[in-house]
């Protein structure tokens, strides 16, 4: 057991004492260990120019093979990933010893050599997501980081291979139990993919061992798209940060942990996979999920959702200064712009706009959980009262203070817990159609839009300078024509809009309002996908 975790450097010393490490591997085979019957290590082409370096690499692969107990195809693919990374290092002129040390197989831990036996029940917020999903709709959100240089796919793949073990609740597949869905631990080769499709498209999670998230790269951008069943923005950001830190370590820039970066070889704390909702006492009043319908923006709903993603990148300090000048928080200021821009995006005269604002429960209940631990509130303003954004700020501030308070959130958690408790003993095949029907009626019609503000994201100083900006993209809503999100990294605040209609009125009005306040954002995004 100790041997399994021994570092490569230590194993090199050991190799000197024991002339042939492959003998040890063969002995292990004789002991009946699964998954080492076929020797892939012999078929891997070694990339170094010097024979001595290639011999070290051969020993490295023989040792590596003993640590992977996956089905044959996956094992081969995983070893190929190592080979590709080594090839990249060799082509970059990195000495073999350094390259092999960076890819040290100890970073795999026991993840790929132990069978998967763990499982996680869904947290109370996640329980709705499997019921709500359809073939063309799934609650997916995406976190991206823009690096200052193009992404090296081979190294990103290795970073994911080493990082995933630190996030066991992410290394899972959604399964059906008799009463509830659950997350079943899945040992497989988790893959990174080049970005080709539209952002936040549904993830296929039906097959045995399917991934519940996807890691994508495009030019200088690394993105992770999560099925919301796994985590919320905070947990997702923690995974992305750790992945990026590991990526830079493999590129030679090691960073300290902290600021949301977890040590990839550290032990998993039980608190990281905890369902924190059940720790909130369920006595007292509970709120209701049913609210009257809100006015939706105009424009025909696109069939492909989101049909466009737009990022407004602006100076974070200027944004903060404008908000302070207007006597608002950044969230309240952006909300005021969204209300004003929304009014220009609809022909309705009566009714209310209601903007959903997710609230991080960790503010009230400090927790290290990486699972969902957020609720939401709705900021509602009648259309008739919406003219100038500045005039809306006092009302928005008042509603935020009241509706996003600890008490209001507790009431919502209690309502969630009560519903979950009420139906917990009903078999899944009976409750699924009923919950789907109810969710179909409620859906997102009580909201017009969403603003999810992840706040200021920081990274360890060693790697912060190698990242330009970050953004959050919310996946498709059902009837809402737009969903907004805000992330600040360094001095760049990125306001992202996911569009579900081709009508550009909302984002054009938003741009105009931002420019009027002197923020003049740089606008980036995807092409409009016409139906």
């Amino acid at each position: 057991m100790v041997k399994r975790y021994m570092s490569f450097a230590m194993r090199k010393k050991e190799t000197a004492q024991k002339p042939n490490i492959s003998t040890a591997c063969k002995e292990k085979q004789k002991d009946g260990r699964k998954g080492v019957k076929k020797r892939y290590s012999q078929s891997i082409s070694l990339p170094f120019a010097r024979k001595a370096d290639n011999q070290k690499a051969a020993l490295f692969f023989e040792d590596l093979e003993c640590r992977i107990a996956l089905p044959a195809e996956e094992k081969k693919a995983l070893m190929d990933d190592f080979a590709k990374a080594l090839k990249f290092y060799a082509s970059s002129g990195l000495p073999a010893d350094v390259a092999l040390e960076r890819l040290d197989a100890k970073n795999l831990g026991g993840f790929y050599s132990r069978p998967s036996n763990t499982w996680y029940s869904l947290d109370n917020a996640a329980k709705i997501y499997p019921f709500a999903m359809k073939h063309d709709y799934m609650s997916v959100f995406r976190l991206s980081a823009y690096l200052k240089e193009d992404v090296v796919p081979e190294i990103l793949q290795m970073a994911l291979t080493f990082t995933i073990k630190r996030f066991p609740s992410f290394a899972t597949t959604v399964k059906k139990g008799f009463f509830w869905h659950y997350l079943d631990s899945t040992k497989r080769r988790y893959i990174v993919e080049p970005e080709t499709g539209i952002p936040c498209r549904p993830i296929h999670i039906g097959r045995s061992g399917s991934q519940t998230f996807r890691v994508l790269y495009y030019r200088n951008r690394i993105s992770v798209e999560y099925f919301h069943i796994l985590t919320d923005g905070t947990g997702g950001m923690c995974f992305l940060k750790t992945l990026i830190a590991e990526y830079f370590r493999l590129l030679g820039t090691a960073s300290s942990c902290g600021k949301g970066v977890l040590p990839v070889n550290g032990l998993v704390s039980p608190g990281e996979v905890a369902n924190e909702f059940i720790n909130i006492r369920s006595e007292g009043p509970a709120s209701s999920f049913v609210d009257k319908d809100a006015v939706q923006y105009g424009g025909r709903l696109s069939r492909i959702k989101p049909c466009r993603v737009i990022h407004f990148k602006m100076d974070a300090a200027a944004l903060k200064a404008v908000s302070v000048r207007k006597g608002a928080t950044v969230t309240a200021y952006i909300l005021s712009l969204m209300f004003a821009a929304g009014k220009r995006a609809t022909d309705e005269i009566d009714g209310d706009f209601n903007i959903q604002v997710p609230v991080n429960m960790r503010k009230f209940y400090p927790s290290e959980t990486l699972r969902n631990f957020s609720m939401y509130c709705g900021i509602r303003i009648p259309l008739a009262e919406i003219y100038e954004p500045d005039a809306l700020i006092p009302e928005i501030m008042r509603q935020l203070a009241e509706k996003a308070s600890c008490q209001a959130m507790n009431e919502m958690v209690k309502a969630t817990n009560r519903i979950v408790n009420a139906i917990r003993f009903i078999p899944l095949f009976l409750k699924a159609p009923v919950v789907r029907l109810v969710y179909g009626f409620i859906g997102d019609r009580s909201f017009s839009n969403t603003l999810s503000n992840l706040g200021v994201v920081s990274m360890p100083p060693e790697i912060a300078g190698r990242i330009d900006s970050m953004d959050l993209v919310l996946g498709a809503a059902i009837t809402n024509r737009a969903s907004c999100s805000l992330v600040t990294f360094g001095n760049t605040a990125t306001l992202s809009v996911s569009k579900n209609t081709a009508d550009p009125s909302f984002e054009e009005a938003l741009y105009e309002l931002l420019c009027r306040d002197g923020l003049t954002p740089v606008v980036e995004g995807s092409e409009l996908i016409a139906d």
Binding site: T173, F178, G206, R207, R303, V309, V420, V523, G525, S526
Partner: protein
Amino acid sequence: MQIKITYPKPLKRKSHRSIIIGIARDIFLLAALMCAVINIWSGGKAWSVIVIWALYMIWSMLVYPDMIEYNRISQFTKAIVQSCVMLVLIDVFITSGWAANVVSIICFSSLIAVCLLLYTDFERQRHNLLPVILLSALSLITSAVLMIISGGNIPWQLPVTCVLSFVVLAVCIKTMGWNIKSELKKLFHTI
């Protein structure tokens, strides 16, 4: 407002699944409604129940398949259970007296098939034990009840199904191994 494109041009989607599902849903609902109305109007045996169940089977297996646990064991057991329900409905509403025999033959042969599916790809399929457990438990209970009801005149299929179901359940328990408590908790957890 100038938008700088920073995303790849999306590949043109070949599938128009949502449109097809929408059209199919309307056709299926119309067909089901028409069957029920015609059956009620013309009287006679309740054949429309069988047609509606067949429509549901086609819908859930082909048009709108499962999004979670779309694996060979789950889909196979689902098809078997739905087929058995269909046979029972035919027995009840059209011609009676044969379903118990036929269903029990289907049950024990499908139990053998499901074991083959499980053990020919054990590494992946061992995570799909719940459908096997439920199918064998259902077969065991049904065949045991039918044996009790039928008194002395027990057809050979029933004891065979009963024994085989028990064996498959035992195999599942053996497969779970020492971790059986955790496995059962996973499958039947309520929080």
